[in-house]
Amino acid sequence: MLWVEGVTAGYGNGVVLRDLSFKAAKGQVTCIMGRNGAGKSTLMKAIMGLVPVQSGRILLSGTVLSDLPAHQVPGQGIAYVPQGRRLFGGLTVAENIEIGLLARKRGTRTRDFVLDLFPRLGNRLDQIASTLSGGEQQMLAIARALCIEPEVLLLDEPTEGLQPSMITAIRDTVLKLRETGLATVLVEQRVDAVLRMADRVAFMEQGQIKADVPVAQVQADSALFKQFVGV
Protein backbone atom coordinates (compact mmCIF):
# COMPACT_ATOMS: atom_id res chain seq x y z
CA MET A 1 0.00 0.00 0.00
CA LEU A 2 1.25 3.48 -0.93
CA TRP A 3 0.38 6.19 1.57
CA VAL A 4 0.77 9.90 1.04
CA GLU A 5 0.17 11.57 4.40
CA GLY A 6 -0.37 15.32 4.65
CA VAL A 7 2.31 16.14 2.10
CA THR A 8 3.24 19.71 1.31
CA ALA A 9 5.73 19.96 -1.53
CA GLY A 10 6.84 22.30 -4.29
CA TYR A 11 9.65 23.89 -6.19
CA GLY A 12 11.89 26.29 -4.27
CA ASN A 13 9.65 28.61 -2.28
CA GLY A 14 6.61 27.76 -4.40
CA VAL A 15 4.19 25.32 -2.79
CA VAL A 16 2.31 23.08 -5.24
CA LEU A 17 0.98 20.26 -3.06
CA ARG A 18 -0.80 21.44 0.10
CA ASP A 19 -1.30 19.01 2.96
CA LEU A 20 -2.24 16.34 0.44
CA SER A 21 -3.27 12.86 1.56
CA PHE A 22 -3.85 9.92 -0.69
CA LYS A 23 -3.47 6.15 -0.85
CA ALA A 24 -3.14 3.52 -3.55
CA ALA A 25 -4.05 -0.07 -2.74
CA LYS A 26 -2.67 -3.33 -4.09
CA GLY A 27 -4.51 -4.64 -7.16
CA GLN A 28 -6.28 -1.33 -7.76
CA VAL A 29 -6.00 1.32 -10.46
CA THR A 30 -6.33 4.80 -9.02
CA CYS A 31 -6.74 7.64 -11.50
CA ILE A 32 -5.74 11.17 -10.61
CA MET A 33 -7.71 13.80 -12.47
CA GLY A 34 -7.70 17.56 -12.40
CA ARG A 35 -7.19 20.65 -14.50
CA ASN A 36 -3.79 21.76 -15.75
CA GLY A 37 -1.73 23.09 -12.85
CA ALA A 38 -3.66 21.14 -10.23
CA GLY A 39 -0.44 19.41 -9.17
CA LYS A 40 -0.94 15.91 -10.63
CA SER A 41 2.54 15.52 -12.12
CA THR A 42 4.10 17.18 -9.07
CA LEU A 43 2.42 14.54 -6.90
CA MET A 44 4.05 11.82 -9.01
CA LYS A 45 7.43 13.51 -8.77
CA ALA A 46 7.08 14.03 -5.03
CA ILE A 47 6.36 10.32 -4.57
CA MET A 48 9.53 9.53 -6.56
CA GLY A 49 11.62 12.00 -4.53
CA LEU A 50 12.14 14.30 -7.50
CA VAL A 51 10.35 17.19 -5.79
CA PRO A 52 11.32 17.85 -2.15
CA VAL A 53 8.66 17.15 0.46
CA GLN A 54 8.46 20.07 2.88
CA SER A 55 6.15 18.39 5.39
CA GLY A 56 4.19 15.17 5.71
CA ARG A 57 5.50 11.81 4.54
CA ILE A 58 5.16 9.19 1.86
CA LEU A 59 5.21 5.52 2.83
CA LEU A 60 5.38 2.29 0.89
CA SER A 61 4.84 -0.90 2.87
CA GLY A 62 6.13 0.80 6.02
CA THR A 63 9.21 2.42 4.43
CA VAL A 64 9.26 6.20 4.49
CA LEU A 65 10.04 7.05 0.87
CA SER A 66 10.22 10.78 1.51
CA ASP A 67 13.32 10.29 3.67
CA LEU A 68 15.24 8.63 0.83
CA PRO A 69 17.27 10.20 -1.98
CA ALA A 70 15.52 9.92 -5.35
CA HIS A 71 17.70 7.12 -6.70
CA GLN A 72 16.83 4.86 -3.75
CA VAL A 73 13.07 5.20 -4.18
CA PRO A 74 12.68 2.79 -7.15
CA GLY A 75 14.57 0.15 -5.18
CA GLN A 76 11.73 0.11 -2.63
CA GLY A 77 9.42 -1.22 -5.35
CA ILE A 78 7.97 1.78 -7.10
CA ALA A 79 8.28 2.56 -10.81
CA TYR A 80 7.47 5.76 -12.65
CA VAL A 81 6.69 6.39 -16.30
CA PRO A 82 6.79 10.16 -16.70
CA GLN A 83 4.88 12.27 -19.15
CA GLY A 84 6.74 12.35 -22.46
CA ARG A 85 8.13 8.85 -21.84
CA ARG A 86 11.82 9.82 -21.67
CA LEU A 87 13.37 6.74 -23.15
CA PHE A 88 17.07 6.26 -23.78
CA GLY A 89 16.36 7.36 -27.32
CA GLY A 90 19.73 6.51 -28.83
CA LEU A 91 19.67 2.93 -27.55
CA THR A 92 17.83 -0.06 -28.93
CA VAL A 93 14.67 -1.55 -27.49
CA ALA A 94 16.70 -4.46 -26.10
CA GLU A 95 19.22 -2.11 -24.46
CA ASN A 96 16.45 -0.02 -22.88
CA ILE A 97 14.98 -3.16 -21.36
CA GLU A 98 18.38 -4.42 -20.28
CA ILE A 99 19.09 -1.18 -18.41
CA GLY A 100 15.75 -1.55 -16.64
CA LEU A 101 16.59 -5.14 -15.68
CA LEU A 102 20.07 -4.23 -14.43
CA ALA A 103 18.67 -1.59 -12.06
CA ARG A 104 17.45 -4.31 -9.69
CA LYS A 105 19.41 -7.21 -11.15
CA ARG A 106 16.39 -8.91 -12.69
CA GLY A 107 16.88 -11.70 -15.21
CA THR A 108 15.29 -13.46 -18.14
CA ARG A 109 12.07 -14.32 -16.27
CA THR A 110 11.25 -10.62 -15.89
CA ARG A 111 12.40 -9.92 -19.44
CA ASP A 112 10.09 -12.62 -20.77
CA PHE A 113 7.22 -11.26 -18.68
CA VAL A 114 7.47 -7.75 -20.11
CA LEU A 115 7.94 -9.01 -23.67
CA ASP A 116 4.87 -11.24 -23.28
CA LEU A 117 3.00 -8.18 -22.13
CA PHE A 118 4.14 -6.20 -25.18
CA PRO A 119 4.76 -8.65 -28.04
CA ARG A 120 5.28 -5.74 -30.47
CA LEU A 121 8.49 -4.89 -28.65
CA GLY A 122 9.75 -8.43 -29.07
CA ASN A 123 9.71 -7.90 -32.82
CA ARG A 124 11.67 -4.67 -32.58
CA LEU A 125 14.42 -5.51 -30.12
CA ASP A 126 17.20 -4.18 -32.36
CA GLN A 127 15.35 -1.01 -33.33
CA ILE A 128 16.57 2.34 -31.96
CA ALA A 129 14.02 3.50 -29.39
CA SER A 130 13.60 7.00 -30.79
CA THR A 131 12.47 5.54 -34.14
CA LEU A 132 9.51 3.69 -32.61
CA SER A 133 5.99 5.04 -32.99
CA GLY A 134 4.55 7.03 -30.09
CA GLY A 135 2.51 4.07 -28.88
CA GLU A 136 5.46 1.70 -29.07
CA GLN A 137 7.60 4.19 -27.18
CA GLN A 138 4.98 4.29 -24.46
CA MET A 139 4.93 0.50 -24.36
CA LEU A 140 8.70 0.46 -24.04
CA ALA A 141 8.61 3.05 -21.26
CA ILE A 142 6.11 0.92 -19.33
CA ALA A 143 8.03 -2.28 -20.09
CA ARG A 144 11.26 -0.77 -18.83
CA ALA A 145 9.54 0.46 -15.66
CA LEU A 146 8.14 -3.03 -15.06
CA CYS A 147 11.64 -4.49 -15.30
CA ILE A 148 12.24 -3.53 -11.67
CA GLU A 149 9.22 -5.66 -10.67
CA PRO A 150 7.48 -2.84 -8.81
CA GLU A 151 4.69 -3.07 -6.26
CA VAL A 152 3.41 0.33 -7.37
CA LEU A 153 3.42 1.74 -10.91
CA LEU A 154 3.01 5.46 -11.51
CA LEU A 155 1.91 6.42 -15.02
CA ASP A 156 1.72 10.08 -16.02
CA GLU A 157 -0.69 10.53 -18.95
CA PRO A 158 0.28 7.31 -20.74
CA THR A 159 -2.33 7.74 -23.51
CA GLU A 160 -1.45 11.33 -24.34
CA GLY A 161 -1.13 11.83 -28.10
CA LEU A 162 -1.67 8.17 -29.01
CA GLN A 163 -3.89 6.74 -31.72
CA PRO A 164 -7.03 4.84 -30.56
CA SER A 165 -5.59 1.35 -31.16
CA MET A 166 -2.58 2.16 -29.00
CA ILE A 167 -4.77 3.64 -26.28
CA THR A 168 -6.71 0.37 -26.23
CA ALA A 169 -3.47 -1.61 -26.01
CA ILE A 170 -2.18 0.49 -23.11
CA ARG A 171 -5.52 0.25 -21.35
CA ASP A 172 -5.60 -3.54 -21.73
CA THR A 173 -2.08 -3.72 -20.33
CA VAL A 174 -3.02 -1.68 -17.27
CA LEU A 175 -5.95 -4.01 -16.67
CA LYS A 176 -3.73 -7.09 -17.03
CA LEU A 177 -1.27 -5.64 -14.55
CA ARG A 178 -4.07 -5.01 -12.08
CA GLU A 179 -4.77 -8.73 -12.11
CA THR A 180 -1.18 -9.40 -11.01
CA GLY A 181 -1.81 -7.38 -7.85
CA LEU A 182 0.08 -4.26 -8.95
CA ALA A 183 -1.08 -0.96 -7.48
CA THR A 184 -1.32 1.54 -10.34
CA VAL A 185 -1.58 5.28 -10.00
CA LEU A 186 -2.53 6.92 -13.25
CA VAL A 187 -2.67 10.58 -14.17
CA GLU A 188 -5.19 10.75 -16.98
CA GLN A 189 -7.21 13.45 -18.74
CA ARG A 190 -9.39 11.22 -20.94
CA VAL A 191 -12.68 10.52 -19.21
CA ASP A 192 -13.42 7.42 -21.32
CA ALA A 193 -10.04 5.92 -20.46
CA VAL A 194 -10.56 6.62 -16.77
CA LEU A 195 -13.99 5.02 -16.74
CA ARG A 196 -12.62 1.85 -18.38
CA MET A 197 -9.48 1.46 -16.27
CA ALA A 198 -10.01 2.94 -12.83
CA ASP A 199 -11.17 1.40 -9.59
CA ARG A 200 -11.03 4.75 -7.85
CA VAL A 201 -10.81 8.32 -9.09
CA ALA A 202 -9.09 11.06 -7.09
CA PHE A 203 -9.84 14.63 -8.16
CA MET A 204 -7.18 17.26 -7.54
CA GLU A 205 -7.53 20.99 -7.32
CA GLN A 206 -4.97 23.56 -6.15
CA GLY A 207 -2.60 20.93 -4.83
CA GLN A 208 -5.13 18.97 -2.80
CA ILE A 209 -7.25 15.86 -3.29
CA LYS A 210 -10.76 17.26 -3.16
CA ALA A 211 -12.60 13.99 -3.76
CA ASP A 212 -11.49 10.34 -3.80
CA VAL A 213 -14.36 8.09 -4.88
CA PRO A 214 -15.02 4.65 -6.42
CA VAL A 215 -15.35 4.77 -10.19
CA ALA A 216 -18.96 3.60 -9.95
CA GLN A 217 -19.81 6.86 -8.23
CA VAL A 218 -18.48 9.01 -11.07
CA GLN A 219 -20.13 6.73 -13.62
CA ALA A 220 -23.46 7.39 -11.92
CA ASP A 221 -22.87 11.10 -11.47
CA SER A 222 -20.73 13.02 -13.95
CA ALA A 223 -20.98 16.23 -11.92
CA LEU A 224 -17.54 15.51 -10.41
CA PHE A 225 -15.95 15.54 -13.87
CA LYS A 226 -17.64 18.84 -14.63
CA GLN A 227 -16.55 20.33 -11.33
CA PHE A 228 -12.89 19.27 -11.34
CA VAL A 229 -12.03 18.63 -14.99
CA GLY A 230 -14.51 20.83 -16.79
CA VAL A 231 -15.92 18.16 -19.16
Binding site: M48, L50, P69, A70, H71, Q72, V73, P74, G75, Y80, P82, R86, L87, F88, G89, G90, L91, T92, E95, E98, I99, G100, L102, A103, R104, D126, I128, R144, A145, I148
Partner: protein, 314 residues
Protein backbone atom coordinates in the same frame (compact mmCIF):
# COMPACT_ATOMS: atom_id res chain seq x y z
CA UNK B 1 28.18 -14.62 -37.42
CA UNK B 2 27.06 -13.47 -33.98
CA UNK B 3 27.49 -9.88 -32.90
CA UNK B 4 30.04 -10.87 -30.30
CA UNK B 5 32.18 -12.72 -32.87
CA UNK B 6 32.02 -9.73 -35.24
CA UNK B 7 33.02 -7.31 -32.50
CA UNK B 8 35.96 -9.34 -31.22
CA UNK B 9 37.13 -10.26 -34.73
CA UNK B 10 37.23 -6.62 -35.75
CA UNK B 11 39.09 -5.41 -32.68
CA UNK B 12 41.57 -8.28 -32.54
CA UNK B 13 42.13 -7.84 -36.28
CA UNK B 14 42.96 -4.17 -35.77
CA UNK B 15 45.36 -5.12 -32.99
CA UNK B 16 47.05 -7.68 -35.25
CA UNK B 17 47.45 -5.10 -38.03
CA UNK B 18 48.89 -2.53 -35.66
CA UNK B 19 51.35 -5.06 -34.25
CA UNK B 20 52.40 -6.13 -37.75
CA UNK B 21 52.91 -2.49 -38.79
CA UNK B 22 56.27 -2.37 -36.97
CA UNK B 23 57.69 -4.82 -39.53
CA UNK B 24 56.67 -2.79 -42.58
CA UNK B 25 56.80 0.83 -41.47
CA UNK B 26 60.02 2.88 -41.72
CA UNK B 27 61.54 3.62 -38.27
CA UNK B 28 60.22 7.20 -38.22
CA UNK B 29 56.62 6.07 -38.68
CA UNK B 30 57.02 3.11 -36.33
CA UNK B 31 58.13 5.54 -33.61
CA UNK B 32 55.19 7.78 -34.49
CA UNK B 33 52.86 4.81 -34.20
CA UNK B 34 54.25 3.96 -30.75
CA UNK B 35 53.56 7.54 -29.68
CA UNK B 36 50.10 7.43 -31.23
CA UNK B 37 49.23 4.21 -29.41
CA UNK B 38 50.07 5.78 -26.06
CA UNK B 39 48.10 8.93 -26.93
CA UNK B 40 45.23 6.69 -28.05
CA UNK B 41 45.16 5.09 -24.59
CA UNK B 42 44.82 8.60 -23.17
CA UNK B 43 41.99 9.27 -25.63
CA UNK B 44 40.32 5.93 -24.78
CA UNK B 45 40.24 7.10 -21.17
CA UNK B 46 38.73 10.40 -22.26
CA UNK B 47 36.19 8.46 -24.29
CA UNK B 48 35.07 6.50 -21.21
CA UNK B 49 34.19 9.78 -19.50
CA UNK B 50 32.93 11.76 -22.50
CA UNK B 51 31.91 9.29 -25.18
CA UNK B 52 30.21 6.74 -22.96
CA UNK B 53 29.17 8.65 -19.84
CA UNK B 54 28.62 12.13 -21.27
CA UNK B 55 31.13 13.93 -19.05
CA UNK B 56 32.65 16.71 -21.13
CA UNK B 57 35.86 17.40 -19.21
CA UNK B 58 38.49 20.04 -19.90
CA UNK B 59 40.72 18.78 -17.14
CA UNK B 60 42.15 15.51 -18.38
CA UNK B 61 45.62 17.00 -18.78
CA UNK B 62 45.78 16.87 -14.98
CA UNK B 63 45.28 13.10 -14.93
CA UNK B 64 47.68 12.64 -17.85
CA UNK B 65 50.32 14.72 -16.07
CA UNK B 66 49.65 12.80 -12.83
CA UNK B 67 50.80 9.71 -14.71
CA UNK B 68 54.00 11.45 -15.85
CA UNK B 69 54.95 12.74 -12.43
CA UNK B 70 53.57 9.75 -10.52
CA UNK B 71 56.02 7.66 -12.54
CA UNK B 72 58.86 10.15 -13.00
CA UNK B 73 59.28 11.57 -9.50
CA UNK B 74 59.75 8.21 -7.73
CA UNK B 75 62.30 7.22 -10.36
CA UNK B 76 64.10 10.57 -10.33
CA UNK B 77 64.02 11.26 -6.60
CA UNK B 78 63.73 7.83 -4.98
CA UNK B 79 65.38 5.51 -7.49
CA UNK B 80 62.27 3.38 -7.86
CA UNK B 81 62.23 0.58 -10.41
CA UNK B 82 60.18 1.36 -13.55
CA UNK B 83 57.35 -1.14 -12.98
CA UNK B 84 56.25 0.09 -9.53
CA UNK B 85 56.74 3.67 -10.76
CA UNK B 86 54.51 2.94 -13.73
CA UNK B 87 51.86 1.50 -11.42
CA UNK B 88 52.10 4.54 -9.16
CA UNK B 89 51.59 6.80 -12.19
CA UNK B 90 48.47 4.86 -13.12
CA UNK B 91 47.15 5.07 -9.56
CA UNK B 92 47.95 8.79 -9.38
CA UNK B 93 45.75 9.41 -12.42
CA UNK B 94 42.86 7.48 -10.88
CA UNK B 95 43.17 9.05 -7.42
CA UNK B 96 43.33 12.59 -8.80
CA UNK B 97 40.33 11.87 -11.03
CA UNK B 98 38.46 10.63 -7.96
CA UNK B 99 39.32 13.72 -5.92
CA UNK B 100 38.40 16.07 -8.76
CA UNK B 101 35.26 14.06 -9.44
CA UNK B 102 33.99 14.22 -5.85
CA UNK B 103 33.87 18.00 -6.19
CA UNK B 104 33.34 18.59 -9.91
CA UNK B 105 30.52 16.06 -10.32
CA UNK B 106 28.34 18.25 -8.13
CA UNK B 107 28.12 20.39 -11.24
CA UNK B 108 27.06 19.48 -14.78
CA UNK B 109 27.42 20.65 -18.36
CA UNK B 110 29.34 23.88 -18.87
CA UNK B 111 29.97 24.24 -15.14
CA UNK B 112 31.60 20.81 -15.09
CA UNK B 113 33.84 21.81 -17.99
CA UNK B 114 34.92 24.98 -16.22
CA UNK B 115 35.51 23.32 -12.85
CA UNK B 116 37.62 20.56 -14.41
CA UNK B 117 39.54 23.18 -16.42
CA UNK B 118 40.24 25.13 -13.24
CA UNK B 119 41.53 22.01 -11.48
CA UNK B 120 43.82 21.25 -14.40
CA UNK B 121 45.14 24.80 -14.47
CA UNK B 122 45.73 24.66 -10.72
CA UNK B 123 47.64 21.42 -11.25
CA UNK B 124 49.73 22.96 -14.01
CA UNK B 125 50.60 26.01 -11.89
CA UNK B 126 51.46 23.73 -8.95
CA UNK B 127 53.92 21.85 -11.16
CA UNK B 128 55.55 25.14 -12.11
CA UNK B 129 55.58 26.36 -8.51
CA UNK B 130 57.22 23.17 -7.22
CA UNK B 131 59.99 23.44 -9.77
CA UNK B 132 62.64 22.25 -7.32
CA UNK B 133 61.23 18.75 -7.68
CA UNK B 134 59.27 18.88 -10.93
CA UNK B 135 61.81 20.77 -13.02
CA UNK B 136 59.13 23.40 -13.71
CA UNK B 137 58.69 24.39 -17.33
CA UNK B 138 61.77 22.46 -18.44
CA UNK B 139 60.80 19.22 -16.78
CA UNK B 140 63.38 16.47 -16.46
CA UNK B 141 64.74 13.54 -18.39
CA UNK B 142 64.09 10.00 -17.18
CA UNK B 143 67.50 8.37 -17.00
CA UNK B 144 68.02 5.73 -19.68
CA UNK B 145 69.24 3.26 -17.07
CA UNK B 146 65.91 3.57 -15.31
CA UNK B 147 64.01 2.66 -18.47
CA UNK B 148 64.95 -0.99 -18.53
CA UNK B 149 62.37 -3.62 -17.58
CA UNK B 150 63.56 -7.24 -17.22
CA UNK B 151 66.54 -6.51 -19.42
CA UNK B 152 64.44 -4.81 -22.12
CA UNK B 153 65.64 -1.30 -22.88
CA UNK B 154 62.56 0.85 -23.52
CA UNK B 155 64.62 3.52 -25.22
CA UNK B 156 65.21 1.17 -28.18
CA UNK B 157 62.71 1.54 -31.02
CA UNK B 158 61.66 -2.10 -31.22
CA UNK B 159 61.21 -2.56 -27.48
CA UNK B 160 59.40 0.75 -27.20
CA UNK B 161 56.96 -0.24 -29.93
CA UNK B 162 56.20 -3.58 -28.29
CA UNK B 163 55.73 -1.94 -24.87
CA UNK B 164 53.43 0.72 -26.33
CA UNK B 165 51.52 -1.99 -28.17
CA UNK B 166 51.15 -4.02 -24.95
CA UNK B 167 49.60 -1.06 -23.16
CA UNK B 168 47.44 -0.20 -26.16
CA UNK B 169 46.16 -3.77 -26.55
CA UNK B 170 45.41 -4.11 -22.84
CA UNK B 171 43.63 -0.75 -22.84
CA UNK B 172 41.55 -1.62 -25.90
CA UNK B 173 40.52 -5.05 -24.65
CA UNK B 174 39.74 -3.55 -21.24
CA UNK B 175 37.66 -0.81 -22.82
CA UNK B 176 35.80 -3.27 -25.04
CA UNK B 177 35.04 -5.47 -22.05
CA UNK B 178 33.93 -2.45 -20.01
CA UNK B 179 31.53 -0.98 -22.54
CA UNK B 180 29.94 -4.38 -23.21
CA UNK B 181 29.54 -5.11 -19.49
CA UNK B 182 26.42 -4.22 -17.48
CA UNK B 183 28.28 -1.25 -16.01
CA UNK B 184 29.09 -0.05 -19.53
CA UNK B 185 25.38 -0.13 -20.40
CA UNK B 186 24.62 1.92 -17.31
CA UNK B 187 27.30 4.48 -18.27
CA UNK B 188 25.56 4.90 -21.62
CA UNK B 189 22.19 5.22 -19.89
CA UNK B 190 23.68 8.02 -17.82
CA UNK B 191 24.85 9.77 -20.97
CA UNK B 192 21.48 9.35 -22.66
CA UNK B 193 19.25 10.51 -19.81
CA UNK B 194 20.55 11.03 -16.30
CA UNK B 195 17.19 11.83 -14.75
CA UNK B 196 15.58 8.75 -16.26
CA UNK B 197 18.45 6.63 -14.96
CA UNK B 198 17.89 8.02 -11.49
CA UNK B 199 14.20 7.14 -11.74
CA UNK B 200 15.17 3.54 -12.48
CA UNK B 201 17.19 3.47 -9.28
CA UNK B 202 20.73 4.27 -10.44
CA UNK B 203 22.86 6.70 -8.46
CA UNK B 204 24.20 9.12 -11.10
CA UNK B 205 26.92 10.54 -8.85
CA UNK B 206 28.35 7.10 -8.09
CA UNK B 207 28.20 5.91 -11.71
CA UNK B 208 29.84 9.07 -13.03
CA UNK B 209 32.50 9.04 -10.33
CA UNK B 210 33.47 5.45 -11.16
CA UNK B 211 33.58 6.32 -14.87
CA UNK B 212 35.76 9.34 -14.18
CA UNK B 213 38.15 7.32 -12.02
CA UNK B 214 38.45 4.67 -14.75
CA UNK B 215 39.07 7.47 -17.23
CA UNK B 216 41.74 8.91 -14.93
CA UNK B 217 43.44 5.51 -14.62
CA UNK B 218 43.66 5.29 -18.42
CA UNK B 219 45.02 8.84 -18.61
CA UNK B 220 47.51 8.15 -15.80
CA UNK B 221 48.65 4.92 -17.44
CA UNK B 222 49.14 6.75 -20.74
CA UNK B 223 51.08 9.56 -19.05
CA UNK B 224 53.31 7.17 -17.11
CA UNK B 225 53.99 5.07 -20.20
CA UNK B 226 54.69 8.14 -22.35
CA UNK B 227 57.23 9.44 -19.86
CA UNK B 228 58.91 6.07 -19.52
CA UNK B 229 58.97 5.23 -23.24
CA UNK B 230 60.11 8.61 -24.47
CA UNK B 231 62.23 9.51 -21.45
CA UNK B 232 60.88 12.92 -20.59
CA UNK B 233 58.57 14.37 -17.94
CA UNK B 234 57.48 17.99 -18.26
CA UNK B 235 54.83 20.46 -17.19
CA UNK B 236 53.88 21.03 -20.85
CA UNK B 237 51.87 17.79 -20.61
CA UNK B 238 49.68 19.47 -17.99
CA UNK B 239 48.70 22.40 -20.20
CA UNK B 240 45.19 22.81 -21.58
CA UNK B 241 46.42 21.60 -24.95
CA UNK B 242 46.56 18.10 -23.48
CA UNK B 243 42.99 18.41 -22.26
CA UNK B 244 41.81 19.40 -25.72
CA UNK B 245 43.83 16.87 -27.72
CA UNK B 246 42.05 13.71 -26.46
CA UNK B 247 38.73 15.44 -27.00
CA UNK B 248 39.66 16.13 -30.63
CA UNK B 249 40.85 12.54 -31.14
CA UNK B 250 37.58 11.24 -29.75
CA UNK B 251 35.40 13.65 -31.71
CA UNK B 252 37.25 12.91 -34.95
CA UNK B 253 37.31 9.14 -34.57
CA UNK B 254 33.86 8.78 -33.05
CA UNK B 255 32.74 9.41 -29.48
CA UNK B 256 31.35 6.30 -27.85
CA UNK B 257 33.23 3.87 -30.10
CA UNK B 258 36.14 1.75 -28.87
CA UNK B 259 38.25 2.19 -32.01
CA UNK B 260 37.37 5.87 -32.51
CA UNK B 261 40.06 7.33 -30.21
CA UNK B 262 42.80 5.38 -32.01
CA UNK B 263 41.55 6.35 -35.46
CA UNK B 264 41.20 9.98 -34.36
CA UNK B 265 44.69 9.96 -32.86
CA UNK B 266 46.23 8.55 -36.08
CA UNK B 267 44.45 11.06 -38.32
CA UNK B 268 45.03 14.09 -36.11
CA UNK B 269 48.68 13.21 -35.46
CA UNK B 270 49.45 12.90 -39.16
CA UNK B 271 47.31 15.90 -40.09
CA UNK B 272 49.50 18.01 -37.81
CA UNK B 273 52.69 16.19 -38.80
CA UNK B 274 52.14 16.64 -42.54
CA UNK B 275 50.66 20.15 -42.61
CA UNK B 276 53.28 21.50 -40.21
CA UNK B 277 55.87 20.48 -42.81
CA UNK B 278 54.31 22.95 -45.26
CA UNK B 279 53.17 25.83 -43.10
CA UNK B 280 53.48 27.27 -39.61
CA UNK B 281 49.76 27.94 -39.74
CA UNK B 282 48.94 24.24 -39.60
CA UNK B 283 46.35 24.84 -36.89
CA UNK B 284 44.21 26.55 -39.55
CA UNK B 285 44.18 23.27 -41.47
CA UNK B 286 43.33 21.35 -38.30
CA UNK B 287 40.54 23.85 -37.58
CA UNK B 288 39.17 23.52 -41.12
CA UNK B 289 39.21 19.73 -40.78
CA UNK B 290 37.25 19.97 -37.55
CA UNK B 291 34.70 22.33 -39.09
CA UNK B 292 34.28 19.82 -41.92
CA UNK B 293 33.88 17.07 -39.38
CA UNK B 294 31.13 18.89 -37.51
CA UNK B 295 29.32 19.65 -40.78
CA UNK B 296 29.62 16.27 -42.50
CA UNK B 297 30.21 13.69 -39.79
CA UNK B 298 29.02 15.13 -36.48
CA UNK B 299 29.27 11.77 -34.73
CA UNK B 300 32.88 11.30 -35.85
CA UNK B 301 34.08 8.88 -38.49
CA UNK B 302 33.22 5.62 -36.77
CA UNK B 303 30.13 7.11 -35.13
CA UNK B 304 28.71 7.91 -38.55
CA UNK B 305 29.77 4.55 -39.95
CA UNK B 306 28.01 2.84 -37.06
CA UNK B 307 24.88 4.88 -37.63
CA UNK B 308 24.71 3.96 -41.32
CA UNK B 309 26.27 0.54 -41.73
CA UNK B 310 27.33 -1.17 -38.51
CA UNK B 311 24.94 -0.66 -35.58
CA UNK B 312 26.74 -3.48 -33.75
CA UNK B 313 29.97 -1.48 -33.47
CA UNK B 314 30.67 -0.84 -29.76
Amino acid sequence: MTESVKVWSLHLGVLALVFAAQYVLPPYHATNLARIMVLAVFAMGYNIAFGYTGLLSLGHALFFAAGFYGMGLPIGLLDWAPVPALILGLIAGGVLAGLVGVLALRTAGVSFMIVTLMFAQAGYLTLLYLNTWTGGDEGFVVDRAARVIAGNDLSLDGTRFVAAFGLFAAAMVGCLWLVRSPFGRVMVAMRENEERSRMLGYDPFRIKLIALVLSGIYAGAAGAAYGLLFGYVGASFATIQYSILPMLYVLLGGAGTVLGPFLGAVLMFYLVDITSGYTDAYLFVVGAALVGLVLFAPRGILGNLRERFAPWLP
